[in-house]
């Protein structure tokens, strides 16, 4: 099977031809033309940028913890718009505190252990999105005052990673309780196994973009992620475990390769292969496979991943070039953006 690159996919997506039926266009045109003559409908349904979380909480009467009460009070005083705006806030933004308080409220309102685990997992995911945003030159410049850039950069990153670890640990702990109490948590465990792999890839990607002092924190976060990945696999039944490991084989191979490259550069990265080694050995014994066969498979997989990584980088570079070409920015802004993009790819 030949390797896909991003440009081929983009080209295919852009070739999609979808047009509405002329009958529908005529009917809608007529409907819109009638609007000024209709009585005004006071029940205005259009609410822009509404938060699904806020809507869900409308039926809840009593807040469960103090932080929830505080955020609800804030909502009453200032309106939901603040929280909605804060949802996209990052470290350094004025609304970031509200964003985090709102996240705690979401946890308080999650009823089951599985729901809590998913909410914590989403929080861990959000911390890494913020980490990537903070470490990209284009956003870091306005997030952190220049005078404090070096120290603040390291501190912000370290705090994000600590919060990431905490959220991930809480996610796994809640998943563990769900499993221990006999709930069907198969889907959740699979999500954790897959998400933690994605997290490792993200952490490996930003490793070289952060100050030296922050790299220790990333290494620690990688170790925690690898452990939680392994714990999720261990909580699965044997059949599901093998199925999930097969599904994630390629993704895992790519992550292992990324970690190995960092390891070769002196980073103290976890060995995903070792972390899951005990189980893989057991499965291989059960399947009658030898260890050398497994090693050969890994070598082949790494060889494919090398080519994949090269093409991915190439495709992303071309894609970004297309993005920049399509945007109406001033020349100076465009040059700055290109510079930031190139750094991000490095």
């Amino acid at each position: 099977m030949e390797t896909w690159n991003s440009n081929q996919i983009i080209k295919q997506l852009r070739s999609l031809q979808v047009t509405p039926r002329p009958e529908w266009q005529s009917a809608t045109r007529a409907l819109l033309n009638e609007l000024p003559h209709q009585a005004e409908n006071n029940n205005d349904k259009a609410v822009l940028y509404k938060s699904p979380v806020f809507l869900n909480t409308r039926t809840i009467i009593m807040p469960k913890i103090k932080i929830a009460a505080a955020v609800c009070a804030l909502l009453i005083m200032t309106g939901a718009g603040v929280v909605v705006a804060a949802d996209s806030a990052k470290p350094g933004d004025i609304l970031y505190g509200i964003d985090r308080a709102w996240e705690n409220t979401q946890i308080a309102f999650s009823r089951s252990h599985q729901a809590k685990a998913r909410t914590y997992l989403a929080q861990a995911d959000e911390r890494l999105v913020e980490l990537e945003a903070v470490t990209s030159e284009s956003t870091a410049a306005h997030l952190i005052p220049t005078a404090y850039a070096d120290d603040a950069d390291t501190e912000v990153i370290a705090n994000l990673l600590t919060d990431y670890e905490e959220a991930l640990i809480n996610a796994q702990n809640n998943a563990q309780v769900a499993v221990d109490t006999g709930e069907d948590a198969k889907e959740l465990l699979e999500t954790i196994a897959q998400t933690t792999l994605e997290h490792e890839a993200t952490l490996a990607r930003v490793y070289t973009q952060v100050p030296k002092q922050a790299q220790d924190a990333i290494e620690h976060a990688m170790q925690v992620g690898a452990t939680k990945h392994q714990e999720a696999l261990q909580n699965m039944g044997k059949e599901q475990q093998m199925q999930v490991q097969n599904q994630l084989q390629e993704q895992k191979g790519n992550v292992e390769q990324q970690l190995q490259q960092l390891h070769n550069q002196g980073a103290n990265t976890p060995s995903f292969h070792d972390a899951a080694g005990e189980q893989e050995k057991e499965q291989n014994l059960n399947n009658g496979e030898t260890e050398s066969q497994e090693q050969e498979q890994n070598r082949n997989q790494n060889s494919e991943s090398d080519e994949e990584t090269d093409k991915q980088t190439e495709g992303y570079a071309e894609q970004e070039a297309n993005n920049n070409a399509g945007e109406t920015q001033s020349q100076e802004q465009e040059q700055n953006q290109n510079k930031a993009d190139n750094n991000a790819q490095d």
Partner: protein, 166 residues
């Protein structure tokens, strides 16, 4: 503030673009027509809130479309139907290789991604909006949108690599 002539002009300018976005997200002509019509009706009812200093009419309409689709997909009945349909998607892609266009197969794979990834990929690569426009529509910082777009495209590429030949 949006007046009636603005709305009519907007319909002529953007109805095909919005319909395309809605159709790709929901996958059914009837529902896409109904939801796209809703977008323009909602825009009319919310016309006093439109502020051209904050967003262009095009991005405002897309923001309404995005929320309209989210509301539609959040309907528990729709959600249950989608869950039933998601599992065999990959199998159906494999079976349809000889009968479908390549872009339709890629679209089927895209529908297995998370809704947020589908939203971003559709807005960027099918509707060809700029990341800056998407950042306004999704109410997310530009940097975050770029990161998420890259992630979503990588996920789709991995899916294509595992399931499709070109």
């Amino acid at each position: 503030m949006l007046d009636h002539s603005d709305l009519v002009t907007a319909f002529e300018q953007y109805n095909e673009l919005l319909y395309k976005y809605v159709y790709v997200r929901v996958g059914e002509q009837d529902i896409a027509e109904e939801l796209t019509q809703d977008v323009f009706l909602k825009a009319w009812h919310a016309r006093s809130r439109f502020d051209p200093r904050k967003a262009s009419l095009k991005t405002w309409l897309f923001a309404i479309a995005l929320n309209t689709i989210r509301d539609h997909l959040r309907n528990p009945k729709i959600h249950a139907e989608l869950n039933e349909e998601t599992a065999p998607v990959l199998e159906s892609v494999a079976q349809a290789v000889e009968h479908q266009q390549l872009h339709e197969q890629i679209l089927a794979l895209m529908h297995t991604l998370r809704p947020i990834d589908q939203e971003l990929l559709t807005l960027r690569y099918i509707n060809e909006l700029s990341p800056r426009e998407i950042a306004i529509i999704a109410q997310q910082p530009y940097g975050v949108i770029k990161v998420r777009l890259h992630r979503a495209l990588t996920k789709l590429r991995n899916l294509c690599h595992g399931n499709l030949e070109f």
